[in-house]
Point group: C2
Amino acid sequence: MDNSTAKETFISFLQSQKLRVTPERLDLLDEIMTSNGHFDAENFYSVVREKGIKASRATVYNTLDLLVQCGLISKYRFGDTTSRYEKAFGRPRHDHLICLNCGEILEFVSPELDNIQTKVCKQHGFRFANSSLQIFGTCSKCQKK
Amino acid sequence: MDNSTAKETFISFLQSQKLRVTPERLDLLDEIMTSNGHFDAENFYSVVREKGIKASRATVYNTLDLLVQCGLISKYRFGDTTSRYEKAFGRPRHDHLICLNCGEILEFVSPELDNIQTKVCKQHGFRFANSSLQIFGTCSKCQKK
DNA sequence: CTGCCTGCAAAACTTTTGCAATGCG
DNA sequence: CGCATTGCAAAAGTTTTGCAGGCAG
């Protein structure tokens, strides 16, 4: 999915939910489309203000939530108190290795994991929505120190 | 691991870290040993106060953190704002299916998952500490509604 | 004795909410 | 035009911290 498709997806989602397509919402999506890696709400709010985008904290939280609902971004918690987000379009589903020492977050992809998840859901009559595997440990750099 | 072993583990851990073995810390571990299922810090603090155990909020948070460090309890975040804990001894490692509708949390065990994790860590030169796979979706009961 | 721990309350932080004003549909 | 949305600030909820005793080692 490219950036213009992402915008179309968001607009369709808003309309289907009878929510309004406001400039604030589109501006925030635009900003996320140019981002890379993980970010948190407060952090994102600061960037947004610095860039002169008009959107209050409430709107930022609201919009992030809507983007999660329509699958354009993913929301994680990596053990700290803050929710983290990342772009979920234009790249494959992946999971995270989190270094407990330096906080670095590595990503990995495992097709076998998808199979396991499908199997587990079937066994429990569970309808899959999304998932998150987080492996905590020590990264190779920190092991050498 | 049974309950008396858990206590020994905790005491050894405290001593190895040059931390004190205080009645508050032991009382809190005792209380956790009799618990089942998931709990959060505030919730646990209430129970502790109701039972007449003397321990402040600060001590509860501190002790939960120590118990996580020595592996006697596990800490999770299931998408809400609160950290959840559960006993990690006397039962096998497991992961969670979380119903987005009713909030129910089902547990499952997958030996294949352990293999994948080992493999991924090896590939990235990562030293494994612990992990958490959370699958979000709709449970069978909620699908029937 | 020493200094780690505790209790209490206040502070810090993240996220949500109430209300009046605004503007999308 | 009606009502969802916004901005602002205040509230709510969770976790951390500062400080003055208190007690484990």
